[in-house]
């Protein structure tokens, strides 16, 4: 299933996104590396869903407007964007930074949400449990740390090495810093509002995640009412890339159960 590229004007910003498939709407919100490495999981999910995968403002092919300075602005932007796209009863799937954006949207309004799937999500801080500071390491090292399987990590590091001076890779890092520099990839006030996430929530986490340790998955499962935590064995920070055999059916079953 190939997803086509399209654009939509959202309050003056030309949002780039890919879309394909038929069925209930599924919004995929990417992590700090953007969509340059396409998650093949989305092709699979498009067999049963209308998958929409945007480049966040500042990432990939979407410019950053002067109206987005932080994660709060980004959340309001995306609430406008899903309205502009006419999406409703959406199954929102967010990875890492994208999970954080999804949560910031959800605590503001879940009116258009059907369910929420968080994969190795950022957004909160667990005291005493350090995340990897991705800004202090080279992209190669980040790639190695992102996988449980060292061979896959090494291959990803070689790709990162070839791409790190490319404009998209640099722009993605700048956009990530804009949202997540201080404090690193969390909003101290998000946690106190997580009770407002009133949609079925699935939390997926790689058992060997070295970027955001699994303790964060447990914390989300505790803080979001009714959330279910699924740990993915032999997976790092990209369980949907490293173990699609486990993650795809898990999301498909969850979406089927959560269908409104």
């Amino acid at each position: 299933m190939a997803l086509g590229v399209d654009f939509i004007e959202v309050r003056g910003t030309r949002l780039a996104y890919r879309r394909g498939g038929a069925g209930p709407a599924l919004l995929y919100l990417h992590g700090t590396d953007g969509l340059a490495e396409w998650p093949e999981m989305l092709d699979e999910l498009a067999l049963g869903c209308d998958v929409v995968a945007p480049d966040h403002p500042g990432f990939g092919a979407t410019p950053i407007p002067s109206t987005i300075d932080d994660i709060s602005d980004m959340a309001y932007f995306y609430l406008d964007a899903i309205a502009a796209l006419g999406l409703d009863r959406i199954h929102v799937v967010g990875h890492s930074l994208g999970g954080w954006i999804a949560l910031e949207m959800a605590v503001r309004s879940t009116a258009r949400f059907a369910s929420l799937t968080l994969i190795a999500s950022a957004g909160i801080h667990v005291k005493g449990v350090a995340k990897t500071d991705i800004f202090l390491i080279d992209p190669e090292e980040q790639a190695v740390l992102s996988y449980a399987d060292p061979r896959r990590g090494e291959a990803a590091a070689q790709r990162a090495s070839a791409e790190k001076y490319q404009e998209t890779a640099i722009a993605n890092r700048i956009a990530s810093a804009r949202l997540g520099w201080q404090p690193r990839f969390f909003n101290p006030r998000l946690e106190r509002w997580l009770h407002r996430v009133d949609r079925p929530t699935l939390v997926l986490w790689g058992e060997e995640d070295r970027i955001i340790p699994p303790a964060y998955g447990a914390a989300f499962a505790r803080l979001i009412p009714g959330a279910r935590l699924t740990m993915v064995p032999r997976a790092g920070h990209l369980p949907h890339v490293e173990r699609p055999d486990l993650v795809i059916p898990s999301i498909q079953r969850f979406i089927a159960d959560a269908a409104p």
């Binding site: 300075d69 500071d133 800004f135 202090l136 390491i137 080279d138 790190k164 001076y165 404009e167 640099i170 722009a171 890092r173 700048i174 990530s176 810093a177 804009r178 520099w181 201080q182 404090p183």
Partner: protein
């Protein structure tokens, strides 16, 4: 030209073997490697060295700001400038510089600078910097907003120094209901403002603006880079703003070592200058000094490509050949500076006479020699000795 002495105040007693144990002496080197007893000796020695420069007739003495590292021990240059204020009489005291934009409230620094300016009856030079990239890790400021915050903080500080208060400052990053500095600075409308930089187009365009005409100071870099950026200031002034930049608006800062002969100078300086470049400067990651957003994506791409591989292994011969380090007999040093002046026409020269692990005895000899045998020869250099700036010769 005016000649000043700059001190970085490194932790010269650093056990250099840490280079093999830690990835950088910035940010991640445990401060258990700092011995306060040794630190006390170093601080007092370094202040003595700057006071000696003042006694020997330098036009100024300079300090700066860096955080969480062994490279420069002045997280607050204001403290050092204050210590020097009462121990010196005539020479300028230059803070090159302070990163106002790293602070949540830049007026705390503006107040401190105003105090020093009043105490010294107007001897302060105030340097506006953004801080190096590593500082954005140390202090948690977001590098993406660095340039915006820097420019806004500077506007705030200049207005606070020069406009009658109280007034409200209404910016994007800084909004204060009450701006009303007590004391106001001694100099009118405010202390001279300098912009020390490693060469950023954004900084040059901003500093050269006709409303500012701030002094642009290029820090130790190869001659070709120094020439490129100093000429860029003149070029931006002329091409973009339509005025001819005065030579007293540009300066160059370089490490210097003077001894009896070239051979002796190289022999004595070698371990200390190589320590500066191979132990004190190398960074954990190239991204540590150029964090995302610190400069535009286009500039960052250029810098990352050019800086590739600069992780130590510097040799003194190469540093001298590239013009990063001026080292030799008094005659060699005089000639090098005069040649550079002929090429670039700077009217402010800042000599860094202690560097890396250079010990007290060699530093003192270096200072005395430079004062006695170099300054008298370079101070008389004026625009008449400068080959002149030709817009046509400057880059597009």
């Amino acid at each position: 030209m005016k000649v000043m002495c700059f001190h970085l105040m490194p932790y010269a007693d650093l056990d250099l073997s840490v280079r093999d144990k830690y990835r950088s002496v910035w940010l991640v080197l445990p401060n258990s490697h700092f011995d306060p007893e040794k630190g006390a000796t170093l601080y007092n020695r370094y202040l003595d060295e700057l006071e000696l420069c003042a006694e020997l007739g330098f036009d100024g003495i300079c300090v700066n700001e860096h955080h969480q590292n062994a490279y420069g021990l002045m997280p607050s240059p204001v403290v050092m400038a204050s210590a020097l204020a009462r121990r010196t009489k005539d020479c300028r005291i230059a803070i090159l510089g302070n990163a106002f934009c790293l602070r949540e409230h830049p007026l705390t620094l503006a107040e401190e600078h105003a105090m020093i300016d009043v105490m010294t009856r107007g001897r302060l030079i105030s340097g506006f910097v953004r801080g190096v990239g590593s500082e954005y890790f140390s202090l948690g400021a977001n590098p993406v907003f660095s340039l915006e915050r820097h420019q806004e903080a500077c506007e705030l500080v200049v207005r606070a120094w020069s406009e009658p208060g109280p007034f409200a400052f209404e910016g994007k990053h800084y909004h204060f209901e009450y701006v009303n500095l007590w004391p106001r600075p001694y100099q009118k409308p405010h202390p001279p403002i300098w912009c020390p930089s490693m060469g950023s187009l954004e900084t040059i365009e901003w500093a050269a603006h006709p409303d500012r005409k701030y002094v642009y100071l290029q820090n130790f870099s190869p001659t070709e880079s120094v020439a490129r950026y100093l000429n860029l200031y003149r070029e931006v002034a002329e091409r973009r703003y339509g005025y001819r930049a005065a030579s007293d608006r540009i300066g160059w800062c370089a490490p210097i070592y003077v001894a009896d002969s070239d051979e002796q100078a190289v022999r004595e300086a070698r371990p200390h200058i190589e320590a500066l470049f191979n132990v004190f400067l190398p960074k954990l990651s190239e991204l540590m000094f150029f964090p995302p957003g610190y400069m535009s994506a286009a500039s960052l791409k250029q810098v990352l490509i050019h800086k590739r591989g600069h992780r130590g292994g510097a040799r003194i011969e190469d540093l001298i050949a590239r013009g990063i380090f001026i080292c030799g007999s008094p005659d060699t040093v005089r000639r090098r500076i005069a040649e550079a002046h002929n090429l670039m026409g700077f009217q402010e020269f800042i000599a860094m006479l202690q560097f890396g692990t250079l010990p007290g005895d060699l530093t003192e000899r270096n200072i005395r020699r430079f004062a006695a045998e170099v300054i008298p020869a370079i101070r008389p250099l004026t625009d008449r000795d400068y080959r002149g700036f030709e817009l046509a010769r400057a880059g597009a």
